[in-house]
Structure formats: C-alpha cells, structure tokens
Symmetry: C2
Subunit: 131 residues, 2 copies
C-alpha cells in the first residue's frame, strides 16, 4: 500500500544555523502556502501555536541500520520511534511553531527547526491533551 502526498506549501528561512529541535529554537522563517489553500488559513492568528507537518526532503532513504540511532545530544542509542530523527521510515517531521504574523497565504513562524525550502504537508491546531 502506497499513500501519495502533495505539499501544501514550502517553508523558507534565511537562518543558516538551524537549531536541532523546535523545543529549543528561537529561529524564524515563513510558510508560503499554495494560494489555492489560502482560505483554509483564515482562522490562524498571530500569537497562537500551530502543529506543522513537513517532509524531511533531504534525508537519505530509510534502512534497517537506522532502526536504532544515537541522537547527537543523547548518551545512548534509542529506537527510531522514540526520537525525532529525520531518518525514519516515513520522512515526516512535526514541529510546534509560534505564529508571529499572517498575511494572505504567508505565515511568519518562530521556533523553527526546518531547513530552507522544506515541503509542508499539513498545518493543524495545537491542542493540549486535556483540551
């Protein structure tokens, strides 16, 4: 079974030193959503957090030697499903970003950990488990 996705937009940033994770990032960038989807952004507001799903488009293809990996900032190897490594069976990344502004089809975001020109797959509301 294969599932085919098409990006809804692209992420851009001028930052060259991208933090390893959104939980520790203060870097900025912007998501340019395909104008065909602009109406779907109408309830996103500056100040809120959004969940952004994206494609690790620069990662090499997954192979069994990547099932267990030692993250650079950890002291031991972990199973791939317990870490946020970009080298995973399906190359989907997830970051929770703060919206610093929105106009037309462009969302300015903070806390970014994606590289320039990352394809964006989806944007969802950020909900606490107790919501």
């Amino acid at each position: 079974m294969k599932i085919e996705m098409t990006p809804i937009g692209t992420f851009y940033t001028g930052e060259t030193d991208i933090p390893r994770h959104w939980t520790v990032s203060e870097a900025r960038g912007r998501i340019e959503v395909d104008p065909a989807y602009q109406q779907g952004l109408k309830d996103i507001e500056a100040g809120q957090q959004i969940v952004v799903l994206f494609c690790f488009h620069k990662s090499r293809e997954f192979a069994p030697d990547l099932l267990v990996q030692k993250p650079p900032h950890k002291d031991r190897p972990f199973g791939v499903f317990s870490i946020c490594s970009p080298r995973r069976p399906n190359p989907i990344g997830l970051s929770v970003l703060r919206v610093s502004g929105i106009r037309e089809n462009i969302i300015d975001v903070e806390n970014i950990d994606m590289i320039d020109q990352t394809p964006i797959l989806d944007i969802k509301p950020h909900l606490p488990p107790s919501a």
Copy 2:
C-alpha cells in the same frame, strides 16, 4: 512534487463507537507495527504518551469546498488548517495516545479516535513545548 509514504503498520480496534477526538476519548485499540520495524519500538514503555501519525484512508478526496468546514461540535465554520477534520489536503491524522502495554511489535493504546484498520505512518515521542 509527489511524496510517497508506506504505512509502518495498522491500527485495530473492536470499538464500534469511536469518539470524535483523542482529547476526549477513553477508547482502546492496538497498533501492529510491521515486524521489520520492531526494533525501533524498543524504548516505548507502558504509561507514556506517543504521537501517532496515520492516514485518513476512508476520507474522500479533498476539494475546494472543504477549505472551510463547520465541525459537528462547533457553532461556526473554520479554516481546515485550524481544525482536525479528516477531510484535508493531505489526509494525515495526528493523535496523542497513551501506551497501556507493549509486546514484540504490538502497542496497546488508549484515547484512540481512529477507525479499525487505519494505516499508521509514524510514531514519535510526545514532547511538551517547554521540553
């Protein structure tokens, strides 16, 4: 640009009355991961929460009339990127589930809001924004 994904496993449940959202669900099910990926589960433990990405495999294809939708439990329409509707440009779902048990390639989970036989795309650790 097309991005192709292959499920890492399948979700099963005997529940017939699936809650509308994981934030309000006490229903249970299990994720059966492809045995080829079993080693990647080694650090998942009962009691923890995991982020599960899955495919809304029963949703109809996205169309422009779905850019703004009124969720059943809301009093007004919202842009698709501010709601968790299964009818979205890329049919990726996200649920935060509690692990009630794990053995070999099978994860027992609670708080489920997916239907039986949902294809699973990824499992990630659940991290608070302040982590």
